[in-house]
């Protein structure tokens, strides 16, 4: 794997508030919000005249919003037209792909500065149609007629992982609890509450309403109760990420000019992308994502780093089982050993290897096409030491990784960042 022909720096990053907005915010509204947040993060300022191209990651505005062709639509909002503006699609990995293509374009010498973004407005549709739109990222000819939903596909993977490695539904609960504890500390997150807080507020509400208060001793009791309904066995509601509206925005610059924008650039030293058959039945393994293994292999090789060198990571926890698979397929833990690490608290933000300090897709939210860029926003903050509230990790982050997965593992993009 060749090194990048020219170094690429992340010089700014920001995001819109993730969630469900009342009144509705559409793609352009959220995109500008993310742009302004990212502009504010650039130490020496950045203006449209400094930028050569606009890359937008988006999964399905066509179906969610009856709007295609987002590249120029977004570019024009901040006065970037007539510069090149393109949209990239790879399901939930859409803005991860946009990021990777921007890295490649800058390294090639064609562009010096690119704004990379991701945006998705899912709540314009009713939930049933949202689910149906998401299902188009799976195989529509064979999996869909057999009844596959998105949670269903990850649940199927979970059943195989449970069978092979003895992973349990309770292991998955540790992932959700940890990610919500982090999301509670993220002012941009959709659900800024720990699961314990949600449980306690439900108990308080029942008491106030004079109803019999459930006998939950801890979060696990709550998560095993009917307050956490089964969606697709073994995955319950709190194993699933959220339906979210949001946008995220990054500024990438070539090494020659990165210091015009900041004295503190974050270097992108590795990028990799992998693919797999869309259908689970067409893959050799049901317990491992080959696209993740391939993307991370490329990124590690390019950066010269090994999994053990990575200090923090944002991984694609669209479902709790996906965080377990990512931890293993990225080489952080042996196959079958990730659940134990989560149980031990190793990946909590005060643990030895924090994962998803942002709250992850589970708590921060998952506006599909914006997720890859939002991963990089959290890494930018953690490496700068500016993560809000109480979620900044307690050590200097020199080396970090993001993992952005598309669909049920058909696409994966891995990016490595160094100070």
């Amino acid at each position: 794997m060749a090194k990048l022909a020219r170094k690429v720096a992340l010089v700014g990053a920001g995001m819109s508030k993730f969630g469900r907005n009342f009144p509705l915010k559409r793609n352009p509204d959220m995109w500008v919000e993310a742009w302004l947040s990212a502009v504010k993060s650039v130490d020496n300022g950045i203006e449209p005249k400094d930028i050569d191209a606009c890359y937008v990651g988006n999964y399905s505005s066509d179906l969610f919003n009856h709007q295609g062709h987002l590249g120029p639509q977004m570019a024009n909002l901040v006065g970037l037209t007539p510069k090149p503006a393109s949209r990239f699609e790879g399901a939930c990995a859409s803005s991860g792909i946009a990021l990777r293509q921007a890295i490649i374009a800058i390294a090639s010498g064609i562009h010096d500065v690119i704004v990379v973004s991701g945006v998705e407005c899912m709540n314009e549709l009713p939930t049933a149609l949202v689910t149906d739109t998401l299902a188009t990222a799976s195989d529509s000819l064979f999996e869909y007629p057999a009844g596959a939903t998105f949670p269903g596909l990850y649940a199927t993977i979970a059943s195989a992982h449970f069978h092979k490695y003895g992973t349990t539904a309770e292991d998955l609960m540790y992932v959700g609890i940890k990610n919500h504890e982090n999301g509670a500390e993220n002012p941009f997150a959709q659900m800024q509450q720990s699961i314990k807080q949600m449980m306690e507020s439900k108990m308080a509400r029942y008491e106030k309403e004079g109803r019999s208060v459930p006998d939950w001793k801890d979060e696990f009791d709550f998560l095993k109760s009917s307050s956490n309904p089964m969606i697709a066995s073994p995955l319950r509601l709190f194993d699933c990420s959220l339906v979210t509206d949001g946008a995220a925005c990054l500024f990438l610059a070539a090494e020659d000019i990165a210091r015009n924008f900041t004295d503190d650039p974050i270097w992108i030293t590795g990028t990799g992308q992998g693919s797999a058959a869309l259908s689970l039945h067409d893959r050799e393994s049901l317990t491992s994502f080959i696209a993740t293994r391939e993307a991370s292999r490329q990124a590690y090789e390019m950066s010269g780093l090994k999994p053990k060198d990575i200090q923090i990571a944002e991984v694609h926890d669209c479902f709790t089982i996906a965080e377990i698979l990512a931890m293993e397929d990225l080489g952080f833990y042996e196959k079958g050993k990730a659940a134990e690490a989560v149980r031990n608290g190793d990946t909590k933000r005060d643990g030895p290897f924090p994962i998803n300090t942002s709250g992850g897709l589970k708590s921060k939210g998952h506006p599909v096409g914006a997720t890859g860029a939002a991963h990089a926003v959290e890494i930018f903050k953690q490496m700068r030491g500016i993560a809000e509230r109480n979620r900044q990790v307690k050590f200097d982050v020199e080396r970090a990784l993001t993992h952005n997965l598309g669909g049920s593992g058909g696409t994966c993009v891995v990016t490595i960042y160094q100070k």
Binding site: A128, T131, D132, A135, D139, L141, F142, E143, Y144, P145, A146, G147, A148, T149, P151, G152, L153, A155, T156, I157, A158, S159, A160, H163, P229, M230, I231, A232, S233, P234, L235, S279, L280, H281, D282, L286
Partner: protein, 139 residues
């Protein structure tokens, strides 16, 4: 003569409508594909032939779905009547996706990975038309 049919997805799906589970076998290297492929991804040969599956296999992975797709809601499934999506490893080697029937979907813990299954073509009446989907049931 099934051998004369083109190796298209449409023909594969039409075989299912006729209650046949068919794959394609590479005449060059012998690799078998279900669902159909026109091109062998092992040896790049396009020299294929149709091959009928015995319809036996074992359960590789599954889920019992309480929040289903519009198609399955139309079939009458809901939170109180979940259905099983499954991946089945056929006796001949390839894996397929299919609904798993003849099991207690409301007790997924009673459904065991590795259990032997046989094909059961599932008929659904929708708007006066009979549609046939691939299904499997315990032997």
């Amino acid at each position: 003569m099934t051998e004369e049919k083109d190796f298209t997805l449409q023909n594969y799906l039409e075989f299912i409508q006729n209650k046949k589970l068919m794959g394609t076998r590479c005449k060059n290297c012998g690799e078998l594909y279900v669902p159909v492929r026109k091109l062998c991804i092992k040896c790049n040969s396009a020299n294929m032939e149709w091959s009928e599956m015995a319809g036996k296999g074992q359960l590789a992975a599954f889920t019992s779905i309480t929040v289903g797709t519009p198609y399955f809601i139309e079939k009458g499934y809901d939170r109180n009547k979940p259905y099983c999506f499954s991946v089945i490893k056929l006796e001949e080697g390839p894996m397929v996706s299919a609904q798993l029937v003849g099991v207690d979907e409301s007790k997924p813990e009673t459904i065991k990975i590795g259990m032997p299954l046989r094909v059961k073509f599932l008929e659904t009446e929708i708007k006066g038309e009979t549609k046939i989907d691939l299904g499997f049931e315990p032997v």
